[in-house]
Amino acid sequence: MNRFQFRTEMIRSELEDIVGQHFVSVDESDKLVYSTDWSWMPQMWLDRGQPLPTPDYIVHPESAEQIAEIMDIANKYRIPVVPWGGGSGTQGGALPLFGGILVDTKRMDKIIEIDEVSLKVTAQAGINGEQLEWALHEKGLMLPHYAAASRCATLGGYLAPRGTGTISTKYGKAEDMVLNMQVVLPTGEIIRTAPVPQHAAGPDWPRLFLGAEGTFGIITEATMQLDYLPEARLLRAVLFDDLSKALEAGRRIMTRRLHPFVIRLYDPESTRSQVKKVLGLDYEGAYMVMGFDGDPDIAALEEQKALAICTELGGQDVGREPGETWWEHRYDFYYPPLSLHLPWMYGTTETVTTYDKIEPLYWAVKRAVEEGFPQWNIRFIAHFSHWFHWGVMCYSRFIIEEPPADAQEALQLHNRVWQAAMQAVIDNGGMINEHHGIGVKLGRYMRQQYGDAWPFMLRLKKMIDPNGIMNPGKVGFGF
């Protein structure tokens, strides 16, 4: 036995002492499966027959206390701890790039309390989103974070990268629904944030854990605000021949005190390709779905007002059915082979900005991608799906159907396309991401994104995680 094997066995038995033998795996097939999340890079790598870095240990704790003890071990041996929820992240946030202890939170899946008076649920962070939703439905309630990933993601995974769901336009991002959280810090302390988020007892430090993607600790429990299931959901589609007018219609709806739960505007290229392929709707122009929910009379009135705005801007009301089709099939886009799939190359270069900048930003990214890589027959598609009072998110994607076969060459090209898109985003006042997070893919843009504030964030990281054990290589915090 060499000294590495000795150390490996030592750590393994210490982990087993904490969670039990059955909940620590060093099995090769488990390591393989946990070596990739839902990001293109590792998936492509495996697709081309290349092995990936794997975790040394896959651990399934059942409590915050067990995670605290795991942190102690990681600090003692100076090895990474990588939180893993559903592994559905698209930015490589859960990749065990440097081995170490991968903490799968899925055993922590209990619903602790459903409060039907204040409309809140307290649950452990490893609970599956859809299973939580079903449990809430039994009581006529919903957690209005309707992410396309809810079938695969966990509650902790909703919060860690600041996710946004399909009905965010009315109900907000996942982070807007959090009342409080329990977090295990990298130092092993278990802390709880204040019971409610809106108060004046000092700075809003709990938000540090939202968007930290596991680099500041592991969220083990969260209390989330709920809503009653709406009495009605009215959906409708409008077709615009001009994307610019459609964007303006969305802006007016949002700023004139109407409250759609969804506005989803597909650009003409997306309408022609994705909408046709998945929904079977054959339209030219920009297809926009809008939805109003709640009291049927109020919803109908708001819908009528929104429709008037659209018509005034040249939008053609194509009726309820194409809107309802989208709602019923809104997740179908993610089922292979309907979804983007290997051996293709693709990336979601989504961004968010204010209304005054959104259109130039869209065109700048589109140009940077399409004009930068014509030799690869690159395609650029986009939709605008999360609308705020001040601006909108642009969910843009590039697709190359015949990328280089060689894994390394493919990765280099992928990075070049991303670089072109992100530079256009930054130059045009966009954020490098709205809801998928930074992970490993976008880390290199954090300094540029934050400028003078970045060293402050690095100091924060050092203070919270002095030994740098938490999810190294992510969110731009280096290794």
């Binding site: 099995d27 097939s29 488990d30 039994e138 695969c152 099939h329 089922y335």
Partner: protein, 370 residues
């Protein structure tokens, strides 16, 4: 299913996470490897030379319950369970299947079933309607079979019994022995032909799935086009609605729940009939389990009870826990395999297991002809 199709399916599933929330094995083990995506990635990685069929990888391959819930929740209908069975067949052909599974297949080859060293019974005669008895109803829960026959007779049907004591073919097919499965399928269909029936009844959704889908999808054997396939519960519910079956309402009792049997998700809409029948005899509505209807989880009775008894037992515990959480004291089902596994552990949960057919037969009022 051809190997090419299996490759295509696992290539689709390897990076898809869209049905993991309904996978019972993923749910009880919480292990990413034991989810549809995990199995897809494992199989496709072996095909790409990134993994080999070590003992532990084979053990993982044999941990899927072959319950079909993934496929029935798949928008693009990927036949992942069949692809997993295909991968198991490759492994078995290479001599790498687990020893206990190989031994089980030998038992099935010899006796036609894994439960009793006894030859299957001959077809009981001829008639318009045949009932596939199989092995579980005969050996694991015989009272249910007798009760189902009483109910059918009360509804004016006296079926010819076929395949009594013989597995449908599901178990060997699921465990990677398609040839054994083919032989059983051929024998069962020969029985059906000998019975001259134009309707084949099954006692549970699993058998209906095997005759209606598995034979053609996995074994390349077509179910006769001139024979109507129906579950006993569906037929009884029809007869009840038509007034041809009379059931008395029972007296009050402890809170109960109906547990949807394994393979329910494979038979869209089949969950209604048992509930209609129960509604006719029970004095109060039942509780509903969390994992119910099209998202039901098997109770550990599928091929998994042989392939990986430990995970199968986890599933049994999970279902009993589900029933207790729903406040039920009595758990009702018509499927012999489900009843059998639940009964062994139910006392630990303070639960009573009750066969649906027996419960209905006790409430028979009288008979009425066709």
């Amino acid at each position: 299913m051809s190997l090419d199709n299996a490759v295509l399916t696992t290539d689709n599933c390897r990076y898809c996470l869209m049905c993991r929330h309904v996978c019972p094995v993923g749910h009880v083990t919480r292990l990413e490897t034991l989810t549809p995506h995990g199995w897809g990635l494992l199989i496709s990685s072996v095909q790409r030379g990134l993994a080999t069929w070590t003992d532990s990888a084979v053990d993982k391959l044999y941990s899927c319950a072959d319950c079909g819930t993934c496929q029935s929740h798949c928008v693009t209908d990927q036949p992942l369970p069949a692809a997993i069975a295909e991968a198991r067949a490759d492994v078995a052909a290479a001599g790498l299947a687990p020893a206990h599974v190989v031994a089980l297949n030998q038992t099935i080859e010899r006796w036609g079933n894994p439960y009793r060293e006894q030859e299957p019974e001959a077809v009981s005669g001829t008639g318009d309607v045949a009932l596939f008895v199989g092995d579980e109803a005969l050996y694991l829960w015989p009272d249910g079979l007798q009760a189902a026959l009483s109910l059918l007779r009360a509804a004016g049907i006296d079926p010819v019994l076929i395949g009594a004591g013989r597995n449908s073919g599901y178990i060997p097919s699921s465990l990677g022995f398609p040839e054994t499965a083919r032989r059983l399928a051929a024998a069962n269909l020969a029985d059906l032909q000998a019975s001259q029936a134009t309707m084949l009844l099954t006692l549970n959704p699993g058998d209906a799935y095997v005759f209606g889908t598995l034979y053609s999808e996995r074994l390349g054997i077509d179910f006769p086009a001139n024979v109507e396939l129906k579950e006993v519960t569906a037929l009884l519910a029809e007869r009840l609605a038509a007034g041809d079956l009379k059931l008395r309402r029972g007296a009050g009792g402890p809170p109960y729940a109906y547990i949807d049997p394994a393979h329910t998700s494979r038979m869209a809409g089949r969950d209604a009939a048992p509930r209609q029948l129960l509604a006719a005899v029970m004095p109060a509505p039942g509780r509903e389990l969390f994992w119910r209807r099209e998202r039901t989880h098997p109770a550990g009775s599928t091929s998994l009870r042989f392939a990986n008894p430990m995970i199968a037992e986890h599933l049994t515990y999970a279902r009993l826990g589900d029933a207790r959480a729903a406040g039920a004291q009595v758990l009702i089902c018509e499927d012999a395999g489900t009843l059998n596994v639940l009964a062994s552990l139910a006392p630990r949960f303070g639960l009573t297991i009750q066969g649906l057919y027996e419960l209905l037969a006790e409430q028979l009022e009288g008979t009425q002809g066709n």
